[in-house]
């Protein structure tokens, strides 16, 4: 417990989390501080490119074995399985109807790449280099959850529509393509390639992450202000409980796979985090009747801040305990 409190305190006082808190506070106080959309998108392209490239270069450096395939498989299972747990919890803890519960559940099977990036950055600071291929696991976890969610809704007579073209949009969405593409580039060019561009993708990484999280705080805060009305105690509780439940599933998967302590933390973080980009876009198309305020507020306004502040140190402490690492 001492470990967790120490880790949490260190995490809460890091520039990264404080930048997020600054954005959150500014938005709640109705400051007009804002990051232009194009700049925020550019920052996220940078983060995806950098984290993907470094993951690939890591794989090139340390070689690859069957664990990669197993980890990818575990990712698919987690992504497709967690929506069922989430759906059950939602039906128990809240009064959401099928369509909304299904839509929310899909978000929790999928992942938040920024949470993944933040966890990676904490691991790097602590010298707990995770397996490079976890980047690929992150990418593969984006989509299966959407399928699971639509299945959950349609099974109960909902009219989710999986239109031609939606699958391409989901599987080839920009984030996945950039993350995996940069991963492959990093893998192909290896440590030599990394050395060529590391003063771009390694040195300034944490600072860029600060600015990006400032914007995430602004967005989360504006979202919370606009969507207060949809928040119920049940939903709030779900938004805090579900990541912990998910992280347990991730912990089990990580231990079974025999990942390093860092890898276990990332697996827990992926399972614990909820999507707020790819899945919402897919849900607007496939389940237009679901209320975006509910799923966005839960994943962006509740779960994301929780993971960033308390979740990551919690998963770190748990993974250390469990792996003895």
């Amino acid at each position: 417990m001492g470990t967790f409190l120490d880790l949490a305190a260190a995490n809460l006082l890091s520039p990264i989390v404080l930048s997020f808190a600054l954005g959150l506070a500014a938005a709640l106080a109705r400051s007009d501080l804002s990051v232009p959309e194009a700049a925020a998108k550019a920052l996220s392209l940078y983060l995806l490119f950098a984290i993907g490239f470094k993951g690939g270069a890591g794989v090139a450096a340390h070689g690859l074995d069957a664990t990669l395939l197993l980890a990818l498989g575990a990712g698919v299972v987690l992504s497709a399985g967690l929506p069922f747990i989430a759906f059950a919890l939602l039906r128990g803890m809240t009064r959401l109807d099928t369509v909304n519960a299904g839509a929310v559940a899909g978000h929790y099977g999928s992942i938040s790449i920024v949470t993944f990036v933040a966890a990676s950055s904490v691991l790097t600071s602590r010298g707990m280099e995770p397996e490079g291929f976890m980047v690929a696991v992150a990418a593969i976890m984006e989509a299966p959850a959407i399928l699971a969610a639509l299945w959950l809704v349609m099974r109960r007579g909902g009219t989710g529509r999986v239109e031609t073209g939606l699958w391409r949009e989901i599987l080839l969405n920009g984030s996945i393509v950039l993350l995996l593409g940069a991963f492959v580039i990093g893998w192909v060019t290896g440590p030599a390639g990394l050395a060529e561009i590391d003063s771009f993708i390694v040195a300034p990484f944490k600072g860029v992450l600060c600015l990006f999280l400032l914007d995430m705080g602004l967005i989360a805060g504006r979202n919370l202000r606009a969507c207060r009305s949809v928040m119920t105690p049940g939903l709030l509780a779900f938004g805090l409980v579900m990541p912990v439940v998910g992280s347990l599933a991730g912990l089990i998967a990580g231990l079974v796979l025999g990942l390093s302590a860092g890898g276990v933390v990332l697996m827990m973080t992926l399972a614990a985090s909820a999507s707020y980009i790819a899945v919402p876009a897919a849900m607007r198309v496939a389940l237009p009747e679901a209320n975006p305020s509910i799923y966005l507020t839960l994943s962006l306004g509740i779960t994301f801040p929780f993971n960033l502040t308390l979740g990551i140190p919690l998963y770190l402490a748990a993974a250390r305990l469990a792996t003895g690492g």
Binding site: M216, I219, R222, A226, V285, P288, P292, L296
Partner: protein, 103 residues
């Protein structure tokens, strides 16, 4: 200068549906339109602005389409099939156009 009567249709629609609207218009034989960005707005589902958005899911775009009156119905039908279950506002106005041979 000689002008000709035409219709001006304005469709405000969620960004994730833009591709689908374009495809539906194309199928209906409507190949002339222009897409404008939208910064924010307000409607029954509340007020929003681009600053509070993350990802493309929340934004909207405005599509302006000038066409001859006799093709209006084809356009409205195509549009309706896309906006039916979705957020969106469709308005039709009268206008005159220069260079009518384009429409």
């Amino acid at each position: 200068m000689r002008t000709h009567a035409a219709k001006r249709v304005e469709i405000i629609i969620e960004a994730p549906m833009e591709r689908r609207l374009r495809a539906a218009l194309h199928e209906a034989g409507v190949t002339g339109y222009t897409v404008l960005p939208v910064l924010g707005g307000s409607g029954r589902s509340g007020s929003w602005s681009r600053e509070g958005q993350v990802g493309p899911a929340g934004g909207m775009v405005a599509v302006v389409c000038i066409l001859r009156a006799e093709r209006l119905d084809a356009l409205l039908e195509a549009t309706f099939s896309v906006v039916e279950r979705h957020i969106g506002v469709v308005t039709i106005g009268d206008c005159e156009v220069l260079r009518a041979e384009r429409f």
